[in-house]
């Protein structure tokens, strides 16, 4: 038998209060020391999946109603989010959710308090640009810097599993490239395991080892990243290849609705 993956999501269903079924039987595996990408359009359920893994769905009146989530050999879908994060799962939310009223330094202090660590330099090590801004309120940072801070804060936890939710969202192409370089670097040097949700399939598949494509609460395709990059449908609908005017594939609909594309 192959060794158990770090994260094993087994056929889960997630319902938001009262009866909004968002994830309809999803299974994913994340192996140690890899980057796993979850791709898909708006509303596919990527965020919900990451929140289910971190237990945070509970704070939004959501629950895992079927299946199970195993982390490091233990069942976590029945746990409170605070316990899940204690086990080393840190969720970096979409939309650069840092503490805007606090300065950069205070953001770091607050999270350092949680993990009782004095090694706060790790944030500046990977994101040296933040050092000059340490006394500035985080709400006044540029979008790219806010995302750097959001990821940097997670490093303070020395996470066993880092959940990144659309780090590229709302950033200019150049900022996205810089950020992805940062992510690759810290992934290598810190020997992290990352579960990455993205709409920006091209960027995500550049750095990922394995990928899942999520549509409407279901996984429609999965495979090693290099396979997905070559896949005809993925190229067409997710990597901005040849556009089809009238496609039978239902993804075409959302493809047109999308605001930004790779």
């Amino acid at each position: 038998m192959p060794p158990a993956p770090l994260l094993d999501v087994n056929n889960i269903e997630v319902i938001y209060h009262p009866y909004i079924l968002v994830l309809k039987g999803i299974s994913i595996r994340v192996e140690r020391n890899t980057i796993t990408a979850v791709l898909g359009p708006n509303g596919a359920g990527k965020t919900t999946l990451l929140k289910a893994v971190s237990g945070l769905v509970r704070l939004e009146r959501g629950r895992v109603t079927k299946g199970s989530i195993m982390f490091d050999g233990e069942r976590i879908d029945t746990r409170e989010p605070e316990e899940v994060s204690r086990r080393g799962i840190v969720y970096v939310a979409e939309g650069r959710r840092i503490f805007r009223e606090l300065t950069v330094e205070e953001n770091i202090e607050a999270v350092a308090y949680a993990w009782n660590t004095d090694d706060t330099d790790i944030v500046y090590k990977y994101f040296p640009r933040l050092k000059a801004k340490r006394k500035i309120r985080a709400g006044y940072l540029s979008g790219g810097e806010q995302q750097m801070l959001a990821i940097g804060l997670a490093l303070l936890a020395k996470p066993k599993l880092l959940l990144l939710d659309e780090p590229s969202l709302g950033l200019a192409p150049r900022a996205v490239s810089e950020l992805y370089q940062n992510i690759t670097q810290l992934y290598r040097e810190e020997k992290l395991t990352i579960l990455l949700a993205e709409q920006n399939a091209r960027k995500a598949l550049e750095i990922a080892d394995y990928g899942y494509i999520l549509e409407n609460g279901r996984i429609v395709l999965e495979g090693p990243a290099e396979k997905l990059r070559e896949d005809k449908d993925v190229k067409e609908f997710y990597l901005g290849g040849a556009r089809r005017e009238k496609g039978g594939y239902r993804t075409v609909k959302w493809y047109r609705r999308k605001k930004r594309w790779v």
């Binding site: 971190s54 945070l56 704070l59 939004e60 009146r61 989010p81 605070e82 994060s85 204690r86 840190v90 969720y91 970096v92 939310a93 959710r97 840092i98 503490f99 805007r100 009223e101 606090l102 205070e106 953001n107 202090e109 607050a110 999270v111 350092a112 308090y113 949680a114 993990w115 804060l153 997670a154 936890a157």
Partner: protein, 295 residues
């Protein structure tokens, strides 16, 4: 008294009272920032805390500082219990539910303090009546104790929030409990601690108040006025509640000085009139940040 010394002494009393109001308002502020609700139990918590000090001092003969510490500890404990029993189970529900629950706690505390005090009405906390004249100003020991206690309390909370990791973490939790949970902050523990500190702050303010105004069941009225002051300034900013408390002290003292000859008692109602006007014009208070209430 001539006009100058009248003005100086009224100003000084306004300052002392204003600091007490500010400390009382800080109690509301801390609970508001932790749970986005107004703690309607605070007025009775104030009475309760004053009674604890009084009972410790005059019935059990404990030294004044010890009786004060007992009162602070009781305040902290009540805050913690309120969080555990009310705020935590009601988390994620409309804030009105939590406010209604704190109103319930108000009556429970009221009942307990009525029984515990065995119907006694007034008492003093054992601060000797000594005065010192400084030019035209008359300063009593109780002025010094009251102002010292309330300003030290406010200062301590500000330092906690500014200069300690714990305090910064508490601010992070109050800004975004979801994000704080995602980053592994012990949100429930910190929320409980905020309520506990709010309780201790209210107790410190209660002691300051009791030193100035004697212990009695009507101390809750001051805490209610302090609520007006903190709404006036905007509940979510510490600077706001301090300014609001001081403003209330001045409005009330000078209002009484000028208006009471015409309409006795009007001065002490000015707080509510001022609050009404401010809330009509600026619903989030003068310093408050506009935000959508979490439901």
């Amino acid at each position: 008294m001539d006009a100058l010394s009248l003005a100086v002494n009224t100003g000084f009393q306004a300052l002392v009272l204003g600091m007490i109001y500010a400390a009382l308002a800080l109690g509301y502020n801390m609970v508001y920032r932790a749970s986005k609700a107004i703690n309607l139990a605070e007025p009775e918590l104030v009475v309760f805390a004053a009674y604890i000090a009084f009972i410790a001092f005059s019935w059990y003969g404990l030294p004044v500082p010890v009786s004060f510490l007992a009162s602070l500890a009781a305040g902290f404990l009540i805050g913690v219990v309120l969080e555990r029993l009310l705020a935590r189970p009601l988390r994620g529900r409309p804030v009105v539910a939590l406010m209604a629950a704190t109103l319930g706690a108000y009556y429970v505390l009221r009942g307990v303090s009525m029984v515990a005090s065995r119907g006694f009405e007034m008492g003093s906390l054992g601060i000797p009546e000594v005065y010192q004249a400084v030019g035209p100003l008359r300063v009593s020991l109780s002025d010094v104790v009251a102002a010292g206690l309330s300003s030290a309390t406010i200062l301590a909370v500000i330092m906690l929030h500014r200069f300690t990791r714990l305090g910064v973490a508490m601010r992070a939790v109050s800004e975004d409990p979801f994000g704080a949970t995602a980053y592994g902050l012990p949100v429930r523990r910190l929320t409980m601690l905020s309520w506990g500190i709010a309780g201790a702050v209210s107790a410190a303010a209660a002691l300051a108040l009791a030193v100035k105004a004697q212990v009695g069941p009507t101390l809750d009225f001051y805490a209610l006025k302090a609520l007006a002051a903190s709404l006036l300034a905007g509940l979510d900013s510490i600077a706001g509640v301090v300014v609001g408390g001081l403003a209330l002290g001045f409005i009330e003292q000078f209002g009484s000085l000028l208006l009471d000859p015409y309409m006795p008692g009007l001065g002490s109602q000015l707080a509510f009139i001022a609050m009404l006007i401010v809330l009509l014009v600026k619903p989030y208070g003068i310093f408050g940040t506009e935000r959508i209430e979490r439901v």
